[in-house]
């Protein structure tokens, strides 16, 4: 930083700057406290509360029962299955979205917007209807099944398997990977790449050393946006996976709905939230260092 003669003045300027930053964020802070943090507090309170005989959650007789149940083997099995399905979906999304985002960024501006909107349009129909459309594509004489069989993937049937779940998740959340990747790649200063190519001579090396690191914030944002809903998903596994093997999302819904067991549903939610929060922080630290 530049030297300033009077340290007092500098401090004052810094304070003013800090105040401005705070004021800028204030509307969002207030909004999230009222409509997110307080409601979240209620759910946390629920996780220590008591289920009545009729399935109401009452805020009395505080206990840890709902947390004790998190140690059960069902919960572990469900959590690990959800984890690997979410990781697989995220990686596939990244592999599909990165080249696409790169391709879009290299078009001229008008074409870029058109291509970007073209990514989003299918998602303005309805999530459930799209997923059911996949069910039609994947059923015994569905188009996808027949093509897969022609290409030589056995009988090509994947409906009601984990493969179908992953396919559905990838389809459902791919735009959430494309958008942040595009936002990051689009603003890369291509003269840097030019310089790198002069240095390394190979396009691949230039990509690896310049483009990839610069696009990393997009990769991180996209991965989070895909991983999180994949981990908690319950509609896609139900429709395409036949709900045969439990996943975290459906397990939580079952607790809140079928068992009307608010405390367990809440403690599961708190657990998922804690895991996600820690994972995200670690991921960010990692990404932050490499930038």
């Amino acid at each position: 930083m530049t030297e300033v003669a009077t340290p007092g003045l500098e401090l004052q300027a810094e304070r003013a700057e800090s105040r401005r930053g705070f004021l800028l964020g204030l509307p969002a802070v207030v909004y999230l406290v009222v409509f997110f943090v307080i409601p979240l507090g209620i759910v946390i309170a629920y996780s220590f509360a008591t289920r009545t005989r009729t399935g109401r959650t009452e805020l009395r007789d505080w206990n840890l029962e709902a947390y004790e149940r998190l140690g059960e083997s069902v919960v572990r099995a469900v959590a690990f299955r959800s984890l690997w399905i979410a990781v697989a979906s995220t990686l596939i999304c990244l592999a599909l979205a990165y080249p696409l985002a790169y391709f879009i960024s290299t078009r001229k501006p008008a074409t870029r917007n058109l291509l970007l909107v073209a990514v989003m349009i299918p998602f303005w129909s309805n999530f459930l209807i799209r997923t059911y459309a996949w069910r039609v594509l994947l059923d015994s004489d569905g188009l996808f099944t027949r093509v897969a069989a022609e290409v030589g993937f056995g009988d090509g049937r994947i409906l009601f398997t984990n493969k179908a779940v992953i396919l559905g998740l990838v389809y459902g959340y791919l735009p959430f990977m494309v958008l942040p990747l595009y936002a990051a790649i689009e603003r890369i200063d291509w003269s840097l790449v030019e310089g790198a190519r002069d240095l390394y001579a190979s396009g691949w090396a230039a990509f690896r050393r310049v483009v990839w690191p610069l696009s990393k914030p997009g990769v991180i944002a996209g991965s989070i946006l895909v991983f999180v809903p994949s981990f908690g998903a319950y509609v896609t596994p139900a429709i395409l996976g036949g709900n045969k093997k439990g996943l975290v999302g459906s397990y939580i819904v079952d607790q809140f709905m079928d068992a009307r067991n608010g405390p367990l549903g809440a403690s599961l939610s708190v657990m998922v939230l804690a895991v996600m929060l820690i994972g995200t922080l670690v991921y960010f630290r990692q990404g932050g260092r490499n930038l």
Binding site: G41, I42, V74
Partner: protein
């Protein structure tokens, strides 16, 4: 680390606030506004299952009473309960199923039916006038009813099949009729565990842990042969040929079998199965209870009750309506089963509900 502590402290503080808020809400007083027959007190907010009401009936009611009916829809009892259970929902009239009625009564969420305002309640058939979930039908009036059983594609199964839950659960039968990977079960702890309990010869309201454990083993064994746990599309799956047998509700099978090309059958297995009744009930905090009772009375009218059944092909609990119901509907054994003796209502089992959900979760974990 300190940041974390601060966050935790923050959440703790808000949790306490929430508790304070929770304790603040005072109890509902038990005196309800009294309504006369045909009296209305504003526009009706009707919360119903989707595709369950003939729009012409709503139009007729609106014309007759000069009020507007707003109809919203819910996909399951649990979702409806989630919304009206916390209060201030704004709805007047709801259509909960049997076991949900008993839960709503226990929690004081619905008010007694005012006989003075609903004289047509006398039209409800004997069989539904004193249901186990609402003794004396004090709080509810039956709307439509049906059964839960097995739908099967007889063409794909190669002829007649034995009428047993074993079609869904038994490995030998699956082998014999080529059902492996072609079975769907409801994704519903009470119905699915209930079917397994019936298969074993127990009550579907069993609260015995050993019986439930046996049923859990039955499901766990069957999971490998099941294509899907599905509460929405079971009948389409059969007609599309994705499955051969499906576990589901009578009306849906009937509707879709009309569209299929094979021969189909729906039956409640010989071991017995579920009978369910959806009921009209007025919420305790209904903003317009009189209009709600007027509408209830309107739907319990003989002509209107028949029109409803002719429209949605679910059986009518309205005894007086029977002469007005189409003969083909009355003669259809899927809509009106001949043997009612082995049918059981699902009853709320209180704390044991958790066991049902857990058993189904474990069976497929």
């Amino acid at each position: 680390m300190s940041k974390w502590m601060r966050l935790v402290a923050l959440f703790g503080a808000f949790s306490l606030m929430a508790v304070a808020a929770g304790c603040g809400s005072d109890e509902e007083t038990s005196s309800f506004k009294q309504c006369a027959e045909g009296e209305t007190d504003g526009d009706l907010n009707f919360y119903n299952w989707s595709e369950y009401m003939d729009p012409d009936l709503i139009t007729a009611f609106q014309d007759q009473h000069g009020v507007t009916v707003t109809e919203d829809f819910y996909p399951s009892n649990e979702e409806m309960h989630g919304k009206v259970g916390v209060g201030n929902s704004g709805y007047d009239l709801i259509v909960p199923s049997d076991y949900m009625v008993s839960i709503l009564i226990a929690d004081g969420l619905i008010q007694p039916v005012q006989e003075a305002a609903v004289p047509n309640k006398g039209n409800v058939a004997e069989r539904f006038a004193n249901p186990p979930y609402d003794p004396g039908a004090v709080y509810s009036a039956a709307y439509q009813w049906g059964t839960t059983g097995v739908g099967v594609d007889l063409g794909a199964a190669g002829g007649d099949v034995p009428k047993t839950w074993g079609l869904l659960f038994d490995a030998d039968l699956a082998e014999q009729y080529g059902l492996s990977g072609k079975i769907s079960l409801l994704d519903d702890p009470r119905e699915t565990m209930g079917a397994a309990l019936k298969y074993l010869g127990y009550s579907l309201n069993s609260t015995s842990k050993t019986e439930l454990a046996e049923a859990e083993a039955v499901i766990a064994d069957a999971v490998g042969r099941v294509a899907a746990f599905d509460s929405d599309q079971y009948s389409e799956l059969v007609v599309l040929g994705e499955t051969i047998v499906g576990h589901g509700y009578s009306g849906n099978f009937l509707w879709d079998f009309e569209e299929g090309e094979s021969t189909y059958d729906y039956f409640v297995p010989d071991e017995g199965g579920t009978i369910w009744v959806d009921n009209m009930a007025v919420l305790a905090d209904a903003p317009h209870p009189c209009t709600a009772f007027a509408f209830m009375n309107f739907l319990l009218d003989a002509q209107n009750g028949a029109q409803l059944t002719n429209y949605n092909w679910y059986a009518s609990p309205n005894g007086a309506a029977e002469p007005h119901i189409d003969q083909e509907v009355l003669d259809n054994p899927i809509i009106y089963p001949t043997d009612m003796s082995k049918l059981e209502f699902i009853a709320d089992t209180g704390d044991f509900e958790i066991e049902y959900t857990d058993a189904l979760s474990r069976a497929r974990s």
